[in-house]
Point group: C2
Chain length 344, copies 2
DNA sequence: ATCGTTGCCGGGAACGATTGCATTTTTTTT
DNA sequence: AAAAAAAATGCAATCGTTCCCGGCAACGAT
């Protein structure tokens, strides 16, 4: 049951050349006569010869591929980002290997190590919500593996980073609710230690402060599984419902948490869910269909994927060690569906 | 800028053994003394040695990985199927390489050939809607590459296949609309030549026939881009709206087309959209939130991915050429949200 | 004392491709 | 026509690993 391929040797044998001649003819080496080149190229074409990328990877110690680690591809943000990544990578001659951590630290480590041992030329990663300790990444980075962070970044490693303007997103989403007349605004968000959590929370707080609304700690719910587990969101919603002074609006800081919260509201108290104002991060293309309706903070996922990939390829192809790193911040977009600002 | 790794040679040099001895000690070869094994293993552990999978792939001409080709990972069905694939593959020691065709034939060919040249041990594929000619797959299959089809299969290649019970899905979705009191039932579906299109159409027709409703060709819209292009769906909806006798219900045969149709209805004629009955294939987790509401045909995507992977691994690991192939058909699930059958 | 076993280990080819250097062939120069 | 220069091609090492084969010691049996 072994899959047959044709090699440079087969060509050499069939044509009576040495493998070196064939190799050079195929890459158009200047030292090979036009005649020989023609013969070799024609024959290679005829038998549909394809160079073995594995042999090349072994020899050159690079694979012309980049590894991607995301939490889950089913998340709209990540699948769009991956499309952006692929769009750049393919045009630059790189293949993309996608892996999922499922928000699990151990899985993330396994994925990264596997990618590294497969000689990926570089790594694009958005950290899992469980990942507090990233020393494993640090050591890989120090050994020379080019890494670019996107979305969920870490301070601990000095390299390129691409993020959305999370502060802006949080601020605008919150301020929109305030301007729509809501004052008791709850906040559902990710695990507390993530960069995106901090930044979006800051935006939320800044909007409250600007409009002289006091910050209320009991209105903030940290969901460590990032909405991957519906029960966690149900519990958060129940907590909110139990409050003597319920929020009259919610700002939700993540894609999956947004949809999970809408589902929970529908299930637990639809009337309340339809009464309150809801704004939240999501890159879902079907958000306009949602009921209860939601005002959307959309991240430029595709562009983020593209820019991260451009930075990574620049790192990979740089002749000299790079020491100057940049953090690109892309603006989010607030999309209001007419039905949301119904208090106006 | 090259990434350093430790090899079996480093161990051999440090310990004064030959590479052969080290290699055998690491795999626990019987011909190596316990003492030597201990020394080698301890040292390997100490320097965190990891065998180079690329060298292994080159030598063994297999990579312990399986390639997956889907149309787009952003599609709920496929991302769930991929989770099923990974769940089995990882437990069996295989890595999964995911690629997207974006419903584009040329891209599909490129992806498959790249996967094959990377020595994937087998291939899981759901055909793109553009793929009519699959001779390239055929020749790969004849050369010995194990292939398992899922979801969108082809008759032309005799191998294992895993599909949903598309006839049943189409039948139940249509009959549900009929039983809810609708009689003029339109049908939006994929490109006509796809296996899933035929089967779901058959189910639709069978339900109509059972209830003595005449089949109306002008009620059927084939969307060759599978909902990837919103304009195509918008056009289909406009066509329907222009009919002197508009459908009072729609059965939609695919995930993306379902959501695109809902978006189009919202945009073009929300009142009509909310009045008609809609049932459709989708694996979206947020379908309960949709408005207009939709009765859902859900495919067992995760299980389909799992079963396809099990079949593929059986093929890969089979000692003898396999000649008996099976087609597994998994039942779909009809999920009615209370609000849909409002004619009752 | 010699032979066959057994246990342990090293040498080296192989996987497919590239590449520096050596070698052969052809062409040009004198 | 001989020598030098140029062009075309081959040899062999390399990447990291496995595995066939052969070597060598120690030991028991003859």
């Amino acid at each position: 049951m072994r899959f047959e391929t044709t090699t440079i040797k087969d060509i050499a044998k069939a044509l009576g050349f040495s493998t070196s001649t064939v190799s050079r003819a195929l890459r158009g080496g200047y030292e090979i006569s036009e005649e020989t080149k023609r013969i070799v190229l024609e024959y290679a074409e005829k038998i549909n010869y394809r160079p073995n990328p594995i042999a090349l990877s072994l020899k050159e110690r690079r694979s012309h591929s980049i590894g991607v680690v995301v939490c889950e591809i089913a998340n709209n943000f990540f699948s769009q980002a991956i499309n952006g990544i692929e769009s750049i990578a393919y045009n630059s001659g790189y293949h993309v290997i996608i892996t999922q951590s499922n928000e699990n630290h151990e899985r993330e480590v396994l994925n990264v190590e596997h990618l590294a041992s497969r000689s990926v030329d570089g790594l694009l990663i958005s950290l899992s919500s469980e990942s507090n300790d990233i020393s494993y990444l640090k050591s890989l980075h120090e050994k020379g593996l080019p890494i670019v962070f996107f979305d969920r970044v870490s301070e601990e490693i000095n390299t390129h980073k691409v993020i959305a303007n999370n502060f802006q997103g949080g601020f605008e989403a919150t301020e929109f609710l305030i301007k729509s007349g809501y004052t008791k605004i709850g906040h559902f968000t990710n695990a507390a230690h993530l960069s995106i959590t901090r930044e979006r929370l800051e935006g939320y707080k800044a909007a409250l402060e600007k409009h002289q609304i006091p910050f209320n700690e009991s209105y903030v719910k940290y969901c460590s599984y990032s909405g991957l587990i519906q029960d966690e969101i149900d519990a958060a919603v129940k907590d909110i419902l139990k409050l003597k002074e319920r929020p009259d609006a919610l700002f939700i800081a993540q894609d999956k948490i947004s949809t999970s919260t809408l589902l929970a509201l529908r299930k637990l108290d639809l009337e309340y869910g339809c009464k309150i104002g809801i704004s939240g991060f999501t890159n879902s293309n079907v958000a306009p269909l949602f009921s209860p309706p939601i005002t959307v903070v959309r991240q430029p996922a595709f562009e983020m994927g593209q820019q991260a990939t451009q930075l990574l390829i620049k790192l990979i192809e740089s002749k000299h060690p790079v020491t100057e790193f940049e953090t690109k911040t892309l603006n989010t977009q607030l999309i209001t569906h007419s039905s949301t600002n119904r208090k106006l």
